[in-house]
């Protein structure tokens, strides 16, 4: 866990909350505006080949009026996965794109945009119909939103 503590120390200025998903999987809450700089800092600390962004999981929280984005990042030298969580408002879901820092974020960002409507600023490859069938996408429906009628 000392490696995870090092990550926590490195990101201390950005972290606004911390909890644990399950043993050996810490989750750090970060402000959406600081996401890109936090990941860039993490990459700078651990090295170019240390981070593997395996998933971007979006969750629509209607009652709270936010969409959660959970970035599952595998830290290769530690052999451990950490989760970085940001929340964006439902009525204006925008967050900065990570493809400049981690190019592998492309597919995850395209998926989150197509299914939940989260806009990743700086990613110019976003388009509807990446995963969603054309008939649903053409109606402007984001099917993973809890209030979507498909």
């Amino acid at each position: 866990m000392s490696g995870t503590n090092n990550i926590e120390d490195a990101l201390s200025s950005y972290i606004i909350g911390r909890d644990t998903v399950k043993p050996n999987r810490p989750r750090f809450h970060i402000d959406a505006g600081n996401l890109k700089s936090a990941i860039a800092l993490l990459k700078q600390c651990l090295g170019d080949e240390a981070l593997y962004l395996s998933n971007i999981i979006g969750v629509d929280k209607v009652a709270e009026g936010v969409i959660e984005l959970n970035y599952f990042i595998h830290v290769v030298p530690l052999g451990n996965t950490i989760v970085i969580r940001v929340t964006v408002p439902r009525d204006k879901p925008q967050v900065s794109s990570l493809i400049d820092v981690i190019p592998g974020a492309l597919s995850g960002e395209c998926e989150a945009y197509d299914l939940l409507g989260v806009e990743f600023i700086g990613n110019r490859y976003l388009r509807r119909g990446f995963f969603v069938p054309v008939d649903v996408a053409s109606r402007g429906v984001f099917p993973l939103r809890k209030d979507a009628k498909v």
Binding site: F131, V132, P133, V150
Partner: protein, 174 residues
């Protein structure tokens, strides 16, 4: 009747005879092909949106444990060499056009076997916004293998029943 008319009638008759000849040759080739395929059917496997359960069973059914090569059954490297298309999983709207294209790319005498509950009518995904339905909604299916997932023996048995190489009890006929 002028000469031109009679010549056109003769050409028309030749054309008809030629057409009948070609279609009869096509029928003979088709019968021969179906007999050949019966003893060396090559499989093409396509996952249209399965959870991987059926795929594992299809791959298990072509392992030496079940030894399908004793029946001449092999997995073909390309759908263009395949005789039997094995479809696993629910057909999503995105996969439907690919499935249709693959079916059209298969040569001559061809069969389709839909493996699993999802390939039958959508299974647990039935009613979802992103699916077309079972494989039968997109391409003609010759045999369905029920189960979630079906056992490898059942998949092999379906192939043999399809090729008329296994006797089926009268009570099992549908």
């Amino acid at each position: 009747m002028c000469m031109g008319d009679s010549a056109s009638i003769i050409y028309y008759r030749w054309f008809q005879r030629g057409k009948a000849f070609i279609s009869s040759i096509a029928v003979v080739i088709r019968v021969l092909m179906s007999k050949l395929i019966r003893y060396s059917p090559w499989l093409a496997h396509f996952n249209t949106g399965a959870c991987n359960g059926c795929d594992i069973e299809v791959l298990a059914s072509i392992t030496p444990i079940y030894d399908p090569e004793r029946y001449g059954v092999k997995l073909s490297p390309s759908v263009r060499h395949g005789d039997i298309l094995i479809v696993t999983g629910v057909v999503t709207k995105k996969a439907a056009e690919r499935l249709r294209r693959l079916y059209e790319q298969m040569p001559g005498v061809k069969y389709v076997v839909a493996v699993g509950a999802c390939a039958y009518d959508g299974g647990v995904f039935k009613g979802s916004y992103s699916i077309s339905g079972g494989a039968g909604k997109v391409i003609p299916v010759d045999a369905y293998v029920p189960g979630c997932p079906p056992r490898p023996e059942e998949i092999l048995r379906a192939l043999l029943i399809l090729l008329n190489r296994e006797r089926v009890k009268e009570s099992e006929r549908h």
